[in-house]
């Protein structure tokens, strides 16, 4: 793992250097941050949510055991944990907690609260949704030798465990509350984070006030914050341009970025990064002719990803060509190596000729099918239009059908589609998370292709228990090649993240994940 961390640290240092001047100034205390939230959380329970809307809403109120050190991403650092040790066999993690941590009601936060939180995450009581239950299945026991020490015992080596402990979804709740009512965090907020909950007016805004007893002395710098919900990006941009909000921390489109830069000049700061999201093309292997690998491979080879990324980047969030792991992450495939894989080649004339040949061999030279897609304009619509055009160039006729989220998901789950555009939303670059979507459909319902491959499953499982990063990368490359050759489910393009903030907003840190860095503890306003 060390070489990966060094690499990541180097990348982080460069990022820090770019944003250096903003971070180097002495933070000023005071002021209320007004920012935009492009979605509203359905409830307050981090454990049962998979939407950034929950994190951008709730993170300022909560602490986690560890947290991502964004300038050194994907490095981690302590949040509630002051220090930690990992046993020689990598199966025991011992954390020492800060001693001066209290919940917002004044009660001390102890190891019992952390244990109750992780017990709820890995073994949720009846009726409680924990979408991270599988993540913590390697934990066999949690011990609390004293009020400020917690020990996690694992049944096997898990190289991603530290990153999982830093997951922003693992908000630490008071044991007393979740024992009395396991559903309590859905409708109540009581954390130990930098801000205390003030109010949530549904459909309108959420606000918080500084937690004066926050355990990190001097933080937070802001007196408070107010996050306003926007359902339309144009309204949000107007508010940003007019100074009503100083930021929106998920993303804006490249066209919006250009508009803001033109209108605001040096009053707006633009930060960009490749993103931990991608769109996938999924072939329904339960339906003919997509059960034939030649058909899938032909359709995959017809997609000009390198050319498409140029055009799509101007009109959508799609930009980066990559394999199964985000390009730019320590585990990503080298671009030169990627170009050798069918579907990622640069010589499109040759690839399309090969694709036509494959379709003819499969007996479907005049293939027609329906592309199942979402109605969400960005980036699903441009991606769908792009694919239709790419397949038209090898003589394939495609009907592009877009559905609202609910019927779209229902169609995917029930296998009522030929070819679909699916998506992958990861909160960090951990290969096990990314590869989970490629595990056989019978074990992983999120793999909508219907493909069963014990060989792929075994390799994905194997890489998840290899402690040595070099060895792990070898296995990842092996499974990546198998998956891309099989072409049952292939990445189209990875997304690009653009965050615009007013230049007077300081201390916020950019990363490839919109789920991270939302606690606002180090954010301040330079006025």
């Amino acid at each position: 793992m060390s070489s990966i961390r060094i690499l990541a640290g180097f990348a982080g240092a460069i990022a820090l250097a770019i944003g250096g001047p903003a971070l180097a100034q002495t933070p000023k205390r005071g002021g209320t941050l007004n920012f935009a939230l492009s979605a509203e959380t359905p409830h307050y329970d981090c454990h049962g949510s998979d939407t950034y809307a929950t994190l951008h809403f709730a993170s300022p109120f909560y602490s986690t055991l560890l947290t991502f050190d964004l300038p050194k991403y994907p490095g981690v650092k302590g949040d509630l944990a002051e220090s930690w040790t990992i046993s020689q066999d990598q199966k025991s993690y011992t954390f020492k907690l800060h001693k001066n941590v209290t919940f917002h009601d004044g009660k001390p936060l102890t190891s019992a609260d952390v244990k109750a939180t992780y017990d709820r995450l890995r073994n949720p009581p009846t009726g409680v949704v924990s979408t991270r239950k599988a993540t913590f299945q390697d934990i066999v026991a949690i011990e609390t030798p004293d009020a400020h020490t917690i020990v996690f015992k694992l049944k096997d080596i898990n190289p991603a465990m530290m990153e999982h402990f830093a997951s922003p979804w693992n908000c630490v709740y008071p044991a007393e509350k979740i024992t009395a009512d396991p559903q309590w965090p859905k409708t109540n907020i009581l954390g130990s984070g930098p801000f205390k909950f003030v109010e949530h007016v549904k459909g309108s805004h959420v606000s918080g006030a500084r937690n004066d007893k926050y355990f990190r002395q001097g933080q937070p710098y802001l007196d408070g914050f107010k996050g306003t919900f926007f359902s339309q990006s144009a309204a949000m941009l107007n508010a940003l341009q007019g100074g009503q909000v100083l930021a929106e921390f998920r993303t804006i489109s490249s066209a919006d970025r250009d508009r803001l830069k033109q209108a605001m000049g040096d009053k707006i700061r633009i930060e960009e990064s490749s993103w931990t999201l991608n769109l996938l093309v999924v072939f329904n292997t339960k339906k003919k002719p997509f059960d034939d690998v030649r058909v899938r491979r032909a359709l995959n080879m017809a997609i000009d990803r390198w050319g498409g990324s140029q055009g799509l980047a101007r009109t959508s969030a799609l930009r980066h060509v990559g394999g199964l792991i985000r390009p730019g992450s320590p585990y990503a495939i080298d671009p030169k190596e990627l170009e050798q894989i069918p579907g990622f080649q640069r010589d499109m004339a040759k690839a399309r000729a090969e694709a036509k040949k494959l379709l003819a061999e499969a007996g479907v030279p005049n293939l027609k099918f329906v592309l199942h897609n979402r109605t969400i304009a960005q980036p699903y619509t441009p991606a769908g239009v792009f694919l239709v055009d790419q397949w038209r160039q090898i003589g394939v006729e495609v009907e592009h059908r877009q559905f609202e989220t609910s019927p779209y998901l229902a169609g995917m789950s029930s296998g009522q589609f030929d070819v679909a555009i699916d998506f992958s939303n990861l909160f960090m670059d951990e290969p096990s998370l990314g590869l989970a979507k490629y595990v056989s459909s019978s074990k992983a319902p999120e793999n909508r292709s219907g493909l069963e491959s014990p060989e792929i499953d075994a390799l994905i499982e194997k890489q998840s228990h290899i402690g040595d990063p070099t060895e792990r990368i070898k296995v990842i490359r092996q499974v990546e090649k198998l998956i891309l050759d099989s072409s049952h489910q292939v990445p189209l393009l990875w997304w690009h993240r653009i965050v615009a903030t007013h230049t007077k907003l300081m201390g916020w840190e950019m990363s490839p994940s919109h789920n991270l860095g939302a606690d606002l503890a180090r954010v301040w306003i330079n006025e």
Binding site: T131, Q232, E404, N425
Partner: protein, 317 residues
């Protein structure tokens, strides 16, 4: 009159019941459910066990008849259930936004009436003069221009020329009238302009029609002042179809300002409706459809009552 009123109110019951039955079953025909949207809509990978448990918790695994029974029982006790998305009472979700939507609808209606009645009347009285042409251009522009587009122009103009934008969050008028007006005047104006165009066109044609009636000619022949002819005889009759249009438009505005609410970032009923539909939030959609139905039947009743006020010949029995 009283008997008529009671009859009309009683007739509302089967109308609303019909709506309640239709909306319940129509929603269940659409594929998909809220659990998928909630747990998978943003890329989550929950297990089948988690999805099933959540469906069970929300009562979606129960037989349709049982769910329908609960819905109908709730209706009779005015309990619309809980939103499946936020798990808050549907009535609370609606009540939170109704005040804003009602205020915008009311302000837009007032703006429309203040603009449309004099303009429509003037246009009819000065038919085929330059004033009539100018008013017709104004009203046709209002009909042609979507109110949300006018809203966007308004916002951009305020930002560009005054570097100012309406407040982002709603403050009730009784708490801070200035802030309230600063936020809601602009959407009301955008919507009110289109609304006034519809009403002014109706007013104009209605007055032109009435002015050709025999009783107007008789009044003029009797030497009644022209002002009295217009105000007392022509306008009162001409207002009947105009009232109908105003009533329908008002009812529509309560839940129909979807895009305008988004443009001005208003936390109103229209936006909530669209969000509920996008999420397949059955209970909230059902509640909002019932609200819309109630608004329409009550407005229709109010319009019918107003007929009697404006036209003494109309008597309800």
């Amino acid at each position: 009159m009283f008997v008529y009123l009671v009859n009309r109110v009683l007739l509302m019951v089967p109308t609303l019941l019909g709506v309640a039955v239709l909306i319940f079953f129509m929603l269940r025909v659409v594929p998909g459910d809220i659990v998928e949207v909630k747990l998978r809509g943003d890329g989550g990978n929950p297990t089948q066990e988690t999805l099933d448990a959540e469906r069970k918790r929300l009562g979606l695994d129960r037989p349709l008849v049982e769910q329908f029974g609960e819905w109908m029982t709730g209706l009779f006790t005015l309990d619309l259930g809980k939103s499946m998305w936020t798990e808050q009472p549907v009535t609370d979700e609606i009540a939170l936004r109704l005040e804003l939507s009602f205020e915008v609808a009311l302000m837009a209606t007032l703006i429309a009436i203040l603009i449309a009645i004099p303009m429509g009347t003037l246009s009819a009285l000065l038919k085929d003069t330059w004033i009539d042409y100018a008013i017709r251009i104004f009203t046709i522009a209002g009909l042609a221009m979507p109110s949300f587009w006018l809203g966007m122009l308004t916002i951009v103009s305020l930002l560009f020329f005054f570097n100012w934008l309406p407040p982002l969050t709603y403050t009730p008028i009784y708490e801070d009238p200035w802030n309230n007006m600063a936020q809601l005047f602009w959407p009301a104006l955008s919507v009110g302009y289109r609304y006034s165009a519809v009403v002014a066109r109706m007013m104009r044609s209605s007055i032109i029609e009435v002015l050709n009636e025999d009783y107007i000619r008789t009044a003029r022949a009797k030497g009644v002042f022209e002002r009295l002819v217009v105000m007392r005889h022509a306008m009162r009759n001409a207002l009947l179809p105009v009232i109908t249009v105003i009533g329908l438009e008002f009812a529509f505005l309560i839940g129909g300002l979807v895009v305008t609410e988004q443009v001005f970032n208003l936390n109103g009923i229209g936006r909530l409706f669209v969000q509920a539909v996008g999420r397949n939030d059955f209970t909230l959609i059902q509640g909002m459809v019932m609200l819309t139905a109630v608004v329409f039947v009550v407005t229709n009743l109010a319009v019918d009552m107003l007929y009697a006020v404006f036209d003494p010949r109309i008597r309800y029995r």
